[in-house]
Amino acid sequence: MATPSNPAMAAALARLWTRFLPEIENRVAILETAAASLAAGSLTAEKKQAAHDAAHKLAGTLGTFGLHRGTELARHAEAFFAEEDRTATAQQVTAGIAELALLIKTRK
């Protein structure tokens, strides 16, 4: 979030966060769906691509609203679904997505 030294900016960012929260939550839901499919062994190419795109957008957005850990978790998910990161396990990615969802849900 913006520093207290610029309260006008912080207030405006808070309004934008509220406005865009449904879209952000929708992107997280896409990731959660992909994670569930992954666990069930039924992740389709389409769901994988949707998860990659959602993670990419979250990575670019969350830090702008001060959620730098959220950007980090989204980047891990993006790399996993793009198959750029072959070291991460499905369990690690699923746990990361759960943490991401909680982070967004509990953001003040």
Binding site: L16, G60, T64
Partner: protein, 123 residues
């Protein structure tokens, strides 16, 4: 000094936060476009001092939009800064090789975005 900036990004949240940042912190005039095609049109209409251009957009992506801007003599000399969530070195180098002024990484800090742009553009 007041500047006019064109932001081209398909994501509403990023576009609005960037516009808010440049207007509130720097007092610049901001024009927005939600696609590469709309960005080309607005650039020619408004002749901004600089363009902040997203890389990944549906339809005409950022690199293609940049090349089209350069093809038009009217917009060919407008400085362009690419904005991307791709952080890997290879991606960054590929984008820098296009001939843009700079490649900025998302997420950006809304409080310092205008300072960052000013430094890059020598304003």
């Amino acid at each position: 000094m007041s500047r006019r900036i064109l932001i081209i990004d398909d994501e509403d949240d990023i576009r609005m936060v960037a516009a808010l940042s440049l207007e509130t912190v720097a007092g610049w005039d901001v024009i927005v476009a939600n696609s590469g095609a709309q960005g080309l049109q607005r650039a020619a209409e408004h002749m901004p001092d600089a363009i902040l251009l997203d890389v990944m957009m549906p339809g005409m992506d950022g690199p293609t939009t940049f090349r089209e801007l350069r093809k038009n003599p009217k917009t060919a000399r407008i400085p362009v800064l690419l904005l991307t969530a791709k952080v890997q070195g290879a991606d960054q180098r590929r984008f820098a090789d296009l001939g843009v002024e700079a490649v900025l990484t998302k997420p950006f800090d809304p409080l310092t975005l205008s300072d960052q742009m000013s430094r890059i553009l020598g304003w």
